[in-house]
């Protein structure tokens, strides 16, 4: 972490960048927050550890409107989002100085609590300096420990890889954390009967409180004003007033980001009700792979996208009924 701070101070002081976008130390060991740093002395509050799961790419939309360059720290999966935003002309490459930071899997405090670890005072082992094998947790009930991998965010179990897809320089080691099949969850739902699927989604979506956290955190949801926020649009936006809106809001959103979603998993990370929203997006990714060949949004900033470029080999809409 010190290496990141030192480098950020250098880049600020030699005028390469005007500000730094990273994470600020929280008031607890597990709650750092995204933050802009304008001067070298404020960087003393900079932190980069296992709890820095937030994807900073979306903040670069705003940073692209500011004077001068912004130094941004991106994890490998975050670089996919940045590339995709670049492809959509929502961020400015010339306004960004990207340091690709190593990642050994990001942690989810709820996963730690779910193991019955309560009254947490301190957590050691999330500093990213070692192998990230074990967390030692100091609680008001004594010391506990838990395997790092058991405390990881769901998305890290299907990690896309250690490679940064866009950067100016790289700092830090990454670790292979993938230990699950990426499409297993989708395949499981595909194998359900229509009635079972309906029941599954009804149960999950009925928990939605329309806080819009999934939309607001999503790097693919970068419209200046969302149609759901328009007061001229006949939707509730902040409550599920009828069962249609309850069922369809997330499905409509998934359609809107289809082909652009990089599977960064932020939607599921932030959902206060634990709705596995990424499954919708991942279903579209799986379909796109099957219909158009393997494609990973944000792998590159340029090149054709399967859903926005036409070829005569494209599948016909009838595929929906043909494959059952």
């Amino acid at each position: 972490m010190q290496e990141l701070i030192t480098r950020a101070k250098e880049l600020l002081e030699n005028g390469t960048v005007s500000r730094v976008l990273g994470w600020k130390v929280g008031d607890m060991p597990y709650n750092p927050e995204p933050a802009f740093f304008d001067s070298a002395d404020t960087l003393d509050n900079f932190v980069y550890n296992g709890f820095c799961g937030a994807n900073l790419s979306k903040y670069m939309i705003e940073a692209s409107t500011l004077e001068g360059k912004t130094l941004v720290f991106l994890k490998p999966c975050d670089t996919y989002s940045f590339n995709q935003l670049l492809h959509e002309h929502r961020v400015d490459r010339d306004k960004a100085y990207i340091i690709g930071v190593g990642c050994k899997g990001k942690l989810d405090i709820d996963m730690i609590k779910a193991q019955g670890i309560k009254g947490i005072k301190d957590i050691k082992g999330a500093e990213m300096s070692d192998a990230c094998d074990t967390l030692t947790i100091d609680t008001i009930y004594g010391e506990k420990s838990c395997a790092y991998s058991k405390a990881m965010l769901a998305r890290c179990h299907v990690c896309k890889g250690k490679e940064h897809k866009i950067y100016d320089e790289l700092i830090g080691e990454s670790k292979d954390t993938q230990d699950q099949e990426r499409f297993a969850g989708v395949e499981y739902i595909e194998s359900m009967t229509p009635e079972e699927k309906f029941e599954f989604f009804r149960n999950e979506l009925s928990k939605c409180i329309r806080c819009n956290a999934c939309r607001n955190v999503c790097p693919a949801c970068s419209c200046r004003k969302c149609v759901f926020d328009s007061n001229k649009f006949d939707s509730a936006q902040k409550a599920n007033v009828d069962s249609f809106e309850e069922k369809m809001f997330h499905i409509i959103r998934a359609f809107h980001v289809a082909g652009r979603c990089t599977d960064c998993g932020e939607c599921s990370r932030v959902c206060p009700q634990g709705i596995p929203l990424h499954l919708f997006n991942r279903k579209f990714i799986k379909d796109i792979n099957e219909f158009y060949g393997d494609f990973s949004a944000g792998e590159t900033a340029d090149g054709d996208r399967p859903l926005t470029s036409f070829t005569f080999e494209d599948v016909e809409p009838s595929i929906v009924s043909e494959r059952g």
Binding site: G26, D27, M28, N31, P32, E33, P34, A35, F36, A54, Y59, K113, K118, G119, I120, K121, I140, N203, E204, S206, K207, I209, R210, C211, N212, A213, R215, N216, V217, K225, D229, N231, D234, A236, Q237, K238, A239, N240, V241, D242, E266, R269, V270, P272, Q273, G274, I275
Partner: protein, 343 residues
């Protein structure tokens, strides 16, 4: 003081729902929220905090106010019926109980909100002590004793392992207890006192229990409003409504019309000061930046509300926003940031 074996709780729930409504923490698709009891409901009394507070039971996220229907040239306006049946909210924690007190001061003062008042009249609150308060809890800072939920609660209960201890507090609580008396046996207070002590010991050790509210309150308006700190604090805010929707005291709502095809359903739904159309009027919006919206939420809880309500804060320290904010922002960090600045 009474007690009931936990294995008989379903008989208790059944008996309550024979003659009235019953809302309690129910687990569904992996999350626990307050919901209506049913024979096959997965009642969950062990989860410390429901995702949403118990606020819905008196002030639902959305509710119809009236319906207009048109037939030829005739328009009929049908007001929505007020709550007429009695109901019980079981398992509310001390923080949520005080949350309802905060709402009372808003909705029961003139002009009285008739929808809310009807629910309050017909609702009986059975509170449940928190056996193991968590890291993000700081209700003690607001004078709440999670080991002995009182305030406007009608009955206080304690989970003692095999038994649930039950102590009626108000007339409504006595009435409910009398109705259920066949299911109870007498109990003495000693065991409950021991549990209270052990809960207090936990509270003392929690990281936020010594949070200081010094400097906050109705008199702090100009100083806090004009502070440059907000400019820094709001930055990571995503402008989602998570903090407001899980909050037991956020009471702002919007009124909207739903086009039914042959008329209009006028309903209200919770609003969030984090949203861009919050308090939007014909002339536009009086808060045009996210910094202003962000500041509004905390100023309301810690300055405006106490200014209008005898110094009472409209935060109850439940810690839901602490647990749920996608960017790890929350009221504790705000309070700490201002204390640090003061030093």
């Amino acid at each position: 003081m009474y007690k009931i074996a936990k294995e008989n709780l379903s008989a208790l729930f059944r008996k309550i729902s024979e003659t009235m409504g019953l809302y309690l923490p129910i687990s569904s698709a992996g999350q626990t929220n307050f919901g209506a009891w049913a024979e096959d409901a997965d009642v969950d009394l062990t989860t410390l905090k429901t995702v949403k507070s118990a606020k819905d039971t008196f002030f639902p996220q959305s509710e119809n106010l009236y319906t207009c229907t048109t037939e030829d040239k005739k328009i009929t306006v049908t007001p929505e019926k007020l709550q007429e049946e009695d109901f019980v909210v079981f398992g509310m924690k001390g923080c949520d109980v005080q949350g309802i007190e905060v709402l009372d001061r808003v909705f029961l003062s003139e002009p009285v909100d008739s929808f809310y008042a009807a629910r309050r009249n017909h609702g009986t609150i059975v509170a449940l002590a928190c056996n193991e308060p968590e890291n993000s809890c700081f209700c003690n800072v607001f004078g709440i004793d999670c080991a002995d939920p009182k305030g406007i609660a009608d009955v206080a209960t304690w989970d003692m392992g095999d038994f649930l201890y039950w102590n009626p507090i108000t007339e409504k609580g006595e009435k409910l207890t009398a109705y259920l008396s066949d299911l109870f046996e007498g109990a003495d207070d000693t065991a409950v006192d021991e549990l209270k002590n052990s809960i207090h010991n936990i509270v003392d050790k929690l990281p936020y229990s010594d949070l200081s509210l010094e400097g906050w309150g109705g008199d702090a308006l100009d100083e806090k409003f004009n502070s440059p700190i907000w400019e820094e604090l709001y930055k990571p805010c995503l402008a989602c409504g998570t903090c407001t929707f899980v909050c037991p005291t956020c009471q702002c709502y919007d009124i909207k019309d739903y086009n039914t095809g042959n008329g209009v359903q006028r309903y209200r739904c919770w609003d969030s000061c984090m949203y861009s159309d919050f308090t939007m009027m014909a002339h536009g919006n009086n808060r045009t930046s996210q910094m202003q919206r962000y500041r509004q939420r905390f100023m309301h809880k810690l300055v405006y509300y106490p200014a209008n309500n005898d110094g009472v804060f409209s935060c109850v320290g439940c810690g839901r926003c602490v647990d749920k904010c996608p960017s790890s922002l929350n009221i504790v960090k705000v309070i700490k940031a201002f204390s640090k600045e003061a030093k």
